[in-house]
Symmetry: C2
Amino acid sequence: MRFTIKREELLKGLTTASKAVSSKSASPVLSNVKLDLTESGLFITGSNNETTIKTKVPYQDESGEEIIRNYELGATLLPSKIVGEAIRKMGGEEVTIEVVDSTVATISDAKSNYNLNCIRPEEYPEFDLEPNGVNFELTYAQFASMVDQTAFAASTKEQRQILTALNLEAADGILTAIAIDSARMAKKTIVVNSDLQFVANIPAKSLVDVKQLAEGSQNVAISISDKKALFSFRNTVVSTRLIAGEYPNTKNIIPKVTNFALEVSASDIINAINRANVLADERENVVDLTMSEDRVEVTSKSSQTGTSQEKVEPFRYEGQSLKISFNSSFVIQAINAVGSEDVSFLFVGEMKPFVIKNPSDDSIIQVVTPVRTF
Amino acid sequence: MRFTIKREELLKGLTTASKAVSSKSASPVLSNVKLDLTESGLFITGSNNETTIKTKVPYQDESGEEIIRNYELGATLLPSKIVGEAIRKMGGEEVTIEVVDSTVATISDAKSNYNLNCIRPEEYPEFDLEPNGVNFELTYAQFASMVDQTAFAASTKEQRQILTALNLEAADGILTAIAIDSARMAKKTIVVNSDLQFVANIPAKSLVDVKQLAEGSQNVAISISDKKALFSFRNTVVSTRLIAGEYPNTKNIIPKVTNFALEVSASDIINAINRANVLADERENVVDLTMSEDRVEVTSKSSQTGTSQEKVEPFRYEGQSLKISFNSSFVIQAINAVGSEDVSFLFVGEMKPFVIKNPSDDSIIQVVTPVRTF
């Protein structure tokens, strides 16, 4: 194998594929990226066994300008971190990669020359990257907002692995994405083709990665099969293993009847919570929201340091007086995920989970469980 | 005590004074800042016992616009971290601070109200901030370049505390600043008044802090006494305790006769070192510089990964062939400190300390000790 390639294009491909490479992979061969120069382009693959990314650098860009030249087909494995760092730091516009024999590859330009020990390509595992499941497409905007509005609420703790997933379900023309952890839930719905039907638990972290990698794409093509989810965009395919097991029943988490309703400016209440939080260190960032028809306040207290009161106005409030204590960062994340200028809070009672939503859009719902402070 | 103050001005003062406040001070009272409203302004003091910073917020700015109004003189101690965070997050243009009684102070604006437990000002230690030593002045540019070109080479390890200092000596119209650690030295000279005479070992970290705080000032007034160094600029005074003990003799570190001389572009050789460093992980960032009249190369090797060669050209070299191994980050920091477009290396031999300097300026000299690699 040998080729000369535009350095920026190679770097883009390496950066994409190496996003799946873990520094602490169980299998040493997976600390490499696979470079495979075929008739249709240079394919770069990285994997940690759970997630695999394969991306193509074509011979020519869309305007017909040459990216890869002076080549001889072939494949090799190269250490992901070293190659990425070398290509990033090199100075030339083009670099040449050549497999000298099955154990040594060189990367060079006019000033630099790296001789790297390399591994035979046959030692790299075969990964199934075929879209052989239920196939559908979302616009990038739909995909990105689905991920942004829900993935943050998934658990990051490995104890109950199923909660690190986003639960995706398509039925009756609605795609529903749900993330929960012990104290909150985020739910987003998107209208889709009514034939589409599946349930899958996809690692939330992988979806965040796909969202970043696909930025700038028009659409994301998705294929869901029994074991894996596949995401295709531009010249890249990302495959991620589904998380096995039953997702908890979330049907009853969103309260059906609420007795108290607050509507305020999202930025006003976020600022008030942030300011009250200055004194909430000792209580693990728990602040109190006190509401009545006359006054809405966010308060906090610290036995050592003192107390604080933050007026929130203007506001609209319906219901009797109510005081709710909550984790300030959960509520701020939920408000930010809703993403509207004004935000609605709907309460059942002081110890019941409450809803945070856009007053004029039901497609995104956040639920937060209060904290007991007495 | 009570006053209403422009929030931005108070925040600037708090940020300055709290730079001396340590989160892990031996004395709990020093986790506070002292606020002292006198006839001449609001003085804010922070200290960790080693370094003390006192800064003044005046009643009016230079254009005569009011900064502090509606006041009653007095003093209080407030928790540095909490007050800083509260003032930073508050929304109003002005805030009001009021000591309600000797144990409670309020910080408020139209929307926010903090009630903070406070401590009586008498509990704060008295710090000597009088310029009662040898006094002189540097321009800010002189002071900043002296610190930037030397302080990085001081040791950060506490085992030999004297090496964490910058050794400042004035004699015969020359101010000399020297920093050394086990493997390098940085030396800067500045022409000063010939009457000036002193030796002082000032914590390098404090000098870096002063450099940052004084940014934008015209001059820095310095006062050196037996126990402390004092730095005054604008409305701020920084006092730092000198480090006791004898500074090592550095007279013989700079080689007097050198046998090999290399002159190259600073950015060319930094890039070459950075690229070679990709394969220098295993050798603790040691790379090799190989020089002859025909060729200058930076090379590296890793038994696991491979080897690299970087051509450096153009270059001027005088002397026989020579190979030197060194810590790549020490050499890059030294080249950056020299700050010139072209840089000179002067060598005695492969295991002797070598000089890095600006070919046309002897006021700044860097010395690095090679690493034995065989």
